[in-house]
C-alpha cells in the first residue's frame, strides 16, 4: 500500500493543522475535541451553520463515540457542506440535492451498527427533498437529522426558501407572500418519534438536544434556526439573529444523562421527566412552560401553533416517543450489519438450486 503518496497538492479545500496541544481535555476514549473536528469551514464568517458544527463536535466528543463509527451524510447547499467540517475520521457522503434521506436509509439498511447523522438545509429538506424527508420520517430510520434552517437559499444568493415566514422580507426588501412550511409541525404530522427545535446561537440548549437525538433509536428530527449572515440577517427577516433571540421561547429543556450515570441533578419533581433511551441513557426533560407535555403529539402540535400566532418560536425537545421502533425493528432485520454476513449464509448453493427448480417444471 505504498502507492498512497501525495505528489501534488492544489488546495481548494482547507485542512486544519493537526497540532494537538498538551493538556487538551480528553473524553472516555481518550480523544480530544480536535479529534472530532473536520477541515476548515468555507462558509461566511458568522454563519449560524458553523455554530451548529461546533455543537455537533461537542456532542459527539462528550458522548465518546468513536469518530470512525459514524457516517455523516448531506444533500446540497450551504448546510450540506458542513459534514466536511466535523468528524474527519468518519465516512462522509455529500449526495444530490434533497436526496440525503435515501442515501442514509440505504446505508442504514446495510449497516445498522454505525451512528448516522444527516445534515440538511431548508431548501434541501422542505422543497426539493420534502418527499424524501417525509418518508424517512415515516420509516423511522435511525439517525440524527439536523435541518440547518435559515429561510433562504444562500449558495444561489438569497431566494426565499419554503421555511421563510409569510411577510418576512428578503434582503432586497420583497415580502414573502406564501405560507411557510414548519419542519417541526411537518415531522409531528408524519409521526416523527423525536422532534426538537433549537437555535444555532444557543449551544447550551443545542448540545444536549443533539446528544439526545443521537441516543434516540429512530428518526431524531432537529430543526435548528441558523441565521444567514449574508442574505437573511436584516431587519424584517424572521430568521435573523436579532429576531430569533427576541422571539425564541424555550419550553422544554433537555438534559442528557449518559448510560449508567446516576441522575443526581435536582429539579422540581413536578417539572422533570426522565425518559430512558434505547442505549440505557436518560434524557431529562425539564419543562419550562407549565402546560406543555412533550409526550403528547397532538398537544405539542397545538402548542407550537398557538405560540406561533403570537410570533413566538418555541424551542427545546418538543416531542419524544417512548416506544419508537426504528426501520430495522419494524422489518425484523438481524441486529448486526448485513455487510458483515459471510457469503455462505447468503447463497443457498447449487444443490438447493437443483432441488427448488422442481417448481418450474
Amino acid at each position: 500500500m505504498s502507492g498512497f503518496s501525495r505528489t501534488k497538492t492544489i488546495m481548494t479545500y482547507i485542512p486544519k493543522p493537526a497540532v494537538v496541544y498538551p493538556g487538551l481535555e480528553r473524553n472516555e476514549i481518550g480523544l480530544t475535541r480536535r479529534d472530532y473536528e473536520g477541515s476548515m469551514t468555507t462558509l461566511c464568517a458568522g454563519c449560524g451553520h458553523d455554530s451548529i458544527t461546533a455543537a455537533i463536535v461537542q456532542a459527539f466528543w462528550e458522548l465518546s463515540i468513536p469518530p470512525h463509527r459514524v457516517a455523516k451524510l448531506s444533500g446540497i447547499g450551504c448546510s450540506s457542506k458542513t459534514p466536511a467540517y466535523f468528524l474527519k475520521q468518519a465516512h462522509g457522503f455529500n449526495g444530490v440535492h434533497g436526496r440525503m434521506p435515501a442515501l442514509v436509509t440505504g446505508a442504514n439498511a446495510a449497516n445498522s451498527e454505525l451512528t448516522y447523522i444527516g445534515v440538511s438545509g431548508d431548501g434541501d429538506s422542505l422543497s426539493i427533498g420534502l418527499g424524501q424527508l417525509s418518508h424517512a420520517i415515516r420509516r423511522n430510520v435511525n439517525l440524527l437529522y439536523v435541518l440547518e434552517n435559515n429561510g433562504v437559499y444562500g449558495l444561489t444568493k438569497g431566494q426565499f426558501s419554503a421555511s421563510a415566514d409569510r411577510g418576512s422580507l428578503s434582503k432586497k426588501g420583497e415580502a414573502n407572500t406564501m405560507e411557510s412550511i414548519d419542519g417541526c409541525l411537518l415531522a409531528l404530522t408524519l409521526g416523527a418519534t423525536f422532534v426538537a427545535r433549537s437555535f444555532s446561537g444557543d449551544k447550551a440548549q443545542l448540545v444536549p438536544i443533539i446528544k439526545a437525538g443521537l441516543a434516540h433509536s429512530g428518526f431524531a428530527f432537529v430543526d435548528v434556526i441558523s441565521p444567514c449572515v449574508t442574505f437573511n440577517d436584516h431587519e424584517g427577516s424572521t430568521k435573523s439573529y436579532a429576531y430569533t433571540r427576541e422571539h425564541n421561547v424555550e419550553i422544554v429543556h433537555a438534559d442528557f444523562v449518559p448510560p449508567a450515570a446516576a441522575i443526581t441533578t435536582q429539579y422540581d419533581p413536578g417539572s422533570v421527566r426522565n425518559v430512558m433511551m434505547h442505549d440505557g441513557s436518560y434524557v431529562r426533560l425539564r419543562k419550562v412552560a407549565e402546560d406543555y407535555d412533550p409526550s403528547d403529539r397532538d398537544r405539542a402540535y397545538a402548542h407550537i401553533r398557538e405560540r406561533q400566532k403570537d410570533g413566538e418560536v418555541v424551542t427545546g425537545l418538543l416531542y419524544l416517543s417512548e416506544d419508537s421502533k426504528d426501520m430495522h425493528e419494524q422489518s425484523e432485520t438481524i441486529p448486526s450489519s448485513l455487510v458483515a454476513l459471510p457469503f455462505e449464509q447468503l447463497c443457498p448453493g447449487n444443490n438447493e438450486l437443483q432441488r427448488m427448480q422442481a417448481r418450474f417444471r
Binding site: I10, V96, L103, G106, N111, H328, T333, I334
Partner: protein
C-alpha cells in the same frame, strides 16, 4: 404439411376471469409431455375487464420466439371477436363459446368453427357466479386437450399438484376439464391436424420467467439490500426476491431477516437507497422500468462519479413516457448507456432469456463492485414476465463474490494515508473503504468536483485527471464483460447483429434464411461498452443487419457512436409495436433490403 408438435394458438379472454391459471395449466401440460413450448401473455394495464390474450407456441425444434401466425384461436371475449377472428390463419380453427350464437358476419369461409357451450355446461354443473366464470376457463383447457391430444393424465397430475389438499377445488377443476374434453371428443373429429405427440425434449429444461430467474441471481450473488418502487413489468422481480429471501435469508435461530427490502416512495429514492447501501458495503440493487430510469438518472450520475457500486435492473417496456406499460420494447438502450447529465458511460448487460437473466444478474454485482460503478441489467417485459423454456439453472459452488478493491482494517493499518481516488495500481480502479472500518479509511464521497485525494476541487487539471481515470476504468471493463455470442457460416458476407430478447427470433430467422440460400453470420452483444470484437464483426461483413426493438435504431446508434463505424455498413431491422420479436419481422426486414439491392 406435418403440423404435429409445430403450431401456435391464442386464447382471447377478459382480464380477471381466471384465464391465467387455465393458460398456465395448458403450458405446463405441453411442457410435461416433453414438447418445447413458449407462452406470451398479452395483457392490458388493468385489473379487471379489459381484453387479454395468451399465445402458446408449440415447436418440436425448440424455436421459442413469438410467432404472429395462429392456427387456432380460442375466442371467449365478445368484445374482441372481430380482431380475433381476423387473426386466425387461413385453414385454421376458431373455438368459441356456443352458448350464444356467433354473428354471421364473424364467419370466415377459410376457418373451421368449433362451438363449445362452455357457459351453458358450466352453469348447469357449477354453483355460484365466480365458480362458473372460473370453470369456463378450465373447461376450454379440457376441450383443447381433446382437440390437440394433450395428455389427460398429465393434466390430472398437474391439478393434483396444484390443489394438493384442497380436494373440493381439485375435483371441480377436474370436472370442468372433463366437461370440455368429453364435449369436444364427441362433437368434433379429434385430434385436429395440429396436435401433440409426446417427445423427450424438455427433461433438462424449466419453464421460468426472467424476473424470477433474475431474482434468483440476486439471491445467489449475495445481494442483501434491495430498494424499489412498484412498476410494471419489473414488480415481479422484487416480489420473487422477497419470496426467496423469506425462505433462504432468515437467521435459523432468531428468525430475523438477513436482508432488507425497502419499498421506496419513488424511483429517485429507490436508487438512492441502493447507492447508500452500496457505499456502506452491501450488494444492493433496484428493479425498475424506463420511467424509473428517467427518474433515477441524477443519482446514477452520482454513483458513476463518486464510484459507488449499484445494480439496476431495467425491465424495459414501451416508451416514451408511460407508453404501453404491458408491452415490450428495447427502448432504453441509449438512456441506460449514458444515463445522467454530464459525461457518463455505464456498464450494461443484456440477457437474452431467463437463464441468462439469472447468470448476468449474478455477474452484475461482481462488475459493480469490481469497477465501483452502477451496472444495468437490461431485460424486457417479454423476458421478465413470460414463461420461457430454458435449460435448468446451475450454480458454481466455487464462486466467490468479487468485492473489488476494498481495504480491510488490517490493510488500512499499514497505509500511511489513504486517498480514495488515487490510481495506485495504474488500472484506473482506486481503492475504496467501507464506513466504520478504520479511522484511517475515512473519505468524503461527493458528487461535486473532487481530486484524486478525495478533496473538493474546482481545479481544471485535478478535475480532468479524475474523470479521465473513470473513463479509462469503464473502457477497461470491456476486457472482462460478457463477450458476444457468435454463430458463423463459412463464407458469409452478411451478418446479423442483435441484442437481448431478439436472440430467439434471429436464430430462427437464420435457419429459415439458410434454407433459402441466404447465409448470414450472427453476433449478439451481451454487454456495453462494446469490446473490439463488435466493430470487427461489422467491418468484416459487406453489410450487417442490426436487429432491435425500438423505433430509433438505438443499438445501431450506439455502435456508430462507440465504434465510429459508417452507417452504410449497418442496415437497421426493427420491430417496436410492443410484441416480442418474431423471425417473421427479421426475415422480412432483411429481404426488403436484399430485394432492393437486387
Amino acid at each position: 404439411m406435418d403440423r404435429v408438435n409445430d403450431f401456435a394458438f391464442k386464447i382471447a379472454t377478459a382480464n380477471g376471469t381466471g384465464s391465467a391459471s387455465a393458460n398456465g395449466l395448458l403450458m405446463q401440460a405441453i411442457f410435461r409431455m416433453g414438447v418445447p413450448v413458449t407462452g406470451k401473455n398479452v395483457f392490458p394495464s388493468n385489473i379487471q375487464g379489459l381484453p387479454t390474450w395468451y399465445e402458446i407456441r408449440v415447436n418440436k425444434d425448440g424455436y421459442t420466439a413469438r410467432t404472429p401466425h395462429f392456427d387456432l384461436m380460442v375466442a371467449l371475449n365478445a368484445a374482441t371477436y372481430d380482431k380475433d377472428v381476423a387473426e386466425v390463419g387461413s385453414g385454421g380453427w376458431l373455438l368459441y363459446d356456443s352458448s350464444w350464437p356467433l354473428d354471421e358476419r364473424l364467419k370466415r369461409p377459410d376457418v373451421t368453427y368449433l362451438g363449445v357451450p362452455l357457459a351453458e355446461m358450466c352453469n348447469a354443473t357449477f354453483k355460484g357466479v365466480r365458480e362458473r366464470i372460473l370453470m369456463k376457463n378450465i373447461a376450454y383447457v379440457g376441450a383443447l386437450a381433446a382437440l390437440m391430444k394433450i395428455d389427460e393424465d398429465v393434466i390430472r397430475a398437474l391439478l393434483k399438484e396444484k390443489f394438493g389438499k384442497k380436494q373440493a377445488l381439485m375435483e371441480s377443476n377436474q370436472k370442468a376439464v372433463d366437461l370440455g374434453y368429453q364435449y369436444a371428443a364427441k362433437t368434433f373429429s379429434c385430434p385436429l391436424p395440429i396436435h401433440l405427440e409426446p417427445l423427450d425434449k424438455t427433461k433438462d429444461a424449466i419453464l421460468i420467467d426472467g424476473n424470477t430467474s433474475a431474482a434468483l441471481g440476486c439471491l445467489y450473488a449475495g445481494a442483501t439490500v434491495a430498494a424499489w418502487y412498484p412498476i410494471t413489468p419489473s414488480t415481479s422481480l422484487m416480489d420473487a426476491f422477497r419470496g426467496f429471501c423469506m425462505k433462504y435469508r432468515q437467521d435459523p435461530e432468531t428468525k430475523k431477516n438477513r436482508y432488507a427490502i425497502l419499498q421506496a416512495e419513488d424511483e429517485l429514492a429507490a436508487v438512492g437507497m441502493v447507492i447508500g447501501a452500496g457505499w456502506a458495503g452491501a450488494r444492493a440493487f433496484t428493479s425498475t422500468s424506463g420511467p424509473g430510469i428517467s427518474l433515477m438518472s441524477e443519482f446514477i450520475g452520482l454513483a458513476y462519479y463518486a464510484e459507488v457500486p449499484a445494480v439496476i435492473f431495467d425491465v424495459q417496456r414501451t416508451g416514451p413516457s408511460t407508453g404501453m406499460p404491458t408491452r415490450t420494447q428495447q427502448g432504453d438502450l441509449m438512456t441506460a448507456a449514458y444515463a445522467s447529465h454530464g459525461d457518463t458511460r455505464h456498464i450494461c448487460l443484456y440477457p437474452a432469456d431467463p437463464r441468462e437473466a439469472f447468470e448476468l444478474a449474478a455477474k452484475a454485482f461482481d462488475f459493480a463492485e469490481r469497477f465501483q460503478t452502477p451496472v444495468f441489467v437490461l431485460s424486457d417485459l417479454d423476458i421478465g414476465m413470460n414463461d420461457w423454456m430454458v435449460p435448468k439453472l446451475t450454480w458454481d459452488d466455487s464462486y466467490k463474490p468479487d468485492r473489488g478493491k476494498v481495504l480491510t482494517a488490517e490493510q488500512l493499518e499499514q497505509v500511511k494515508t489513504f486517498y480514495r481516488y488515487l490510481d495506485v495500481d495504474g488500472d484506473g480502479i482506486a481503492y475504496r473503504t467501507l464506513p466504520g472500518t478504520h479511522p484511517k479509511g475515512a473519505f468524503f464521497a461527493r458528487g461535486s468536483g473532487h481530486n484524486k485525494f478525495g478533496g473538493y476541487t474546482e481545479d481544471a487539471e485535478e478535475y480532468t485527471e479524475v474523470v479521465d481515470r473513470i473513463d479509462r476504468k469503464i473502457q477497461r471493463a470491456t476486457k472482462v464483460l460478457p463477450a458476444p455470442i457468435v454463430r458463423q457460416v463459412p463464407g458469409a458476407k452478411l451478418g446479423i447483429l442483435t441484442i437481448g430478447g431478439c436472440h430467439a427470433a434471429c436464430n430462427e430467422a437464420l435457419d429459415l434464411l439458410a434454407k433459402e440460400g441466404i447465409a448470414l453470420d450472427y453476433m449478439r452483444v451481451r454487454s456495453f461498452p462494446f469490446g473490439d470484437d463488435v466493430a470487427k464483426f461489422v467491418e468484416s461483413h459487406d453489410l450487417t443487419f442490426v436487429v432491435e426493438q425500438n423505433r430509433d435504431a438505438q443499438l445501431r446508434s450506439l455502435l456508430q457512436l462507440e465504434t465510429g463505424l459508417p452507417i452504410d455498413k449497418m442496415e437497421s431491422v426493427r420491430y417496436y409495436g410492443g410484441f416480442p420479436m418474431s423471425a417473421h419481422y427479421v426475415i422480412s426486414g432483411i429481404k426488403a433490403r436484399l430485394d432492393k439491392a437486387a
